[in-house]
Symmetry: C2
Subunit: 321 residues, 2 copies
């Protein structure tokens, strides 16, 4: 058997954020059009972690893939990645396994790219000030994506741990391109923010609605599961809410689960999908929340692109076994 193995370095060299954002546009268009088959993910759980299996196929991608991604919080103490994984790619023509991609970096990249697309679509054009909550594994790509979408002058970085915010600003100055990264600012700066991105595992809301500007655009990508929440119900109720995958968000986005449980919205709650809003309507000037839980369609389109490029450029390791 021959398999192409594609690691993080190759992925980082062939797929850059601006192109990843374009691919998210395609992925969400396919998802909302129903032309990608991404069945419910399967989870295996033990005492120390969860392994998620997320398969996807679309005719246009010419491949089938499954992301096998683990969430093992205790890995941090062991010096191991908390969210390690691989993507297995099969040919849509022959079903043959053709490649294994390292999945951790790609997950972070495509999750960032989703924020980039949403910011591009929904934040005001003249946005200059942003905030980022969370300085974990996802945050560098979240920052990079925001900076791709708008010419921010200042990004305020918040973390539960002040040192983490300082370290993050220091370590990510290389991608700031003239934008000032400011750690641990007073919370009053939130009123100045045109865009706020949250990438945490918080169990309580990170800010109140009256702390932020009334035309803010929020990207919320963390807080998976009904026991976690990054935003208050009021923030969602005051905003135009856009999700990546309606069915998945109704089930898995903590804020939405809590709002429904509390009876603040009815069973007919029906947020728009980003794939339905790629050519408008114009939400400029209206406060917006983009809430995403991630979909295998994102991994599928990125994997297809990475395979195309690595084949053309003869990159990756061919393993024979």
């Amino acid at each position: 058997m021959n398999l192409k193995l594609i690691g993080q370095d190759v992925i980082a060299s062939v797929l850059k954020m601006p192109r990843a954002i374009e691919l998210m546009r395609e992925a969400y268009a396919e998802l909302s059009a129903g032309s990608v088959d991404s069945p419910l993910r399967t989870a295996l759980v033990n005492e120390v972690g969860t392994v998620l299996y997320k398969p996807a196929y679309s005719k246009a991608a010419e491949i089938l893939c499954v992301k096998v991604i683990s969430v093992f919080p205790g890995n941090a103490e062991k010096g191991l990645p908390v969210i390690p994984g691989v993507i297995v790619v099969n040919s849509a023509e022959t079903g043959m396994p053709v490649a294994i991609l390292e999945a951790g970096y790609l997950t972070s990249l495509r999750t960032g790219a989703a924020t980039g697309l949403a910011t591009d679509l929904f934040a005001k054009k003249e946005a200059k000030v942003a905030a980022l909550f969370g300085t974990g594994g996802q945050s560098r790509h979240q920052l990079e994506a925001m900076l791709c979408a708008r010419d921010f002058e200042t990004v305020y970085v918040f973390s539960r741990n002040a040192e983490n915010a300082e370290r993050f600003c220091r370590e990510n100055a290389d991608i700031a391109r003239g934008c000032q990264l400011v750690p641990n600012a007073e919370r009053t700066v939130l009123k100045l923010c045109d865009v706020i991105t949250t990438a945490t595992t918080s169990a309580v809301a990170l800010f109140e609605w009256d702390e932020v500007a009334d035309d803010v655009h929020v990207n919320a990508i963390g807080a998976l599961g009904p026991m976690r929440t990054e935003l208050t119900a009021e923030t969602l109720l005051q905003s135009a809410v856009v999700v990546d995958d309606r069915e998945a968000c109704l089930r898995e986005a903590g804020e939405i689960c809590l709002m429904r449980q509390a009876g603040l919205v009815g069973d007919d709650y029906y947020p728009a999908e980003i794939g339905e809003l790629l050519d408008g309507p114009d939400l400029q000037g209206v406060p917006t929340v983009f809430r995403s839980v991630g979909n295998a369609a994102q991994d599928l389109l990125c994997s297809a692109e990475i395979l195309r490029i690595t084949e053309a450029q003869n990159l990756g390791v061919i393993a024979q076994f």
Copy 2:
């Protein structure tokens, strides 16, 4: 990222049929005891084939795994395997991906081993004559497994294509160990058979109940899906039916689906699982049918064993990417 890659040759060298049969005993015991988590498989389908995703975990195995196995019938014409696949293994302790195993050979081996276990448990002790229907990719291991379970003197080999039966007998003489392989015999020999194994994709039953001995043991491993059937309803109704996985067989075993659709058995039809019968009751002298559709628990326990041995013996390819 480091992954151990384990190909067919290594698997064949470290896991032999007698041990595989022992592992099936463990797998079915775990399955029936509910101590293995093997959720419903997910299928992605396109115009030319299907890719199946079958995850499994048990605490005892110390790994999680998913088999990604394709069924692309048109591959035969292209000189490619019809059922290619890989198994991705993750550590249960850290969630880290640790190995990729070639899955086609292992699937055939463990499916044979299931037949070996069932034959050992349910065929009469003095069984001397067997029949094998089907000479495709699964059949060599089906034959080998039967020969492990009993000292057969004769195995009659049937195929829709007479040449295939001759070729199969010629090519598998190396594992016959003194047993005579007889292709294309008269069908009257079926009355003499103590054991009949069917490994076909037939859409119609391969024999009538009145053609076989009234104490026959039948292993039926083919005919997946409600449109295919290897056995007549009468054969099942006259026999003690044992399945690998009750829920899966009620949904996927062609014969059982047809019996239920035809109203020959009620909604309360409840065949025994092999994992419930490992220490008896004694079904000797009673006609028996073992109907299996395959379960990821089989792949899980085989993968765990292969990993243990390849680690101890330093086998497999370590890929760094």
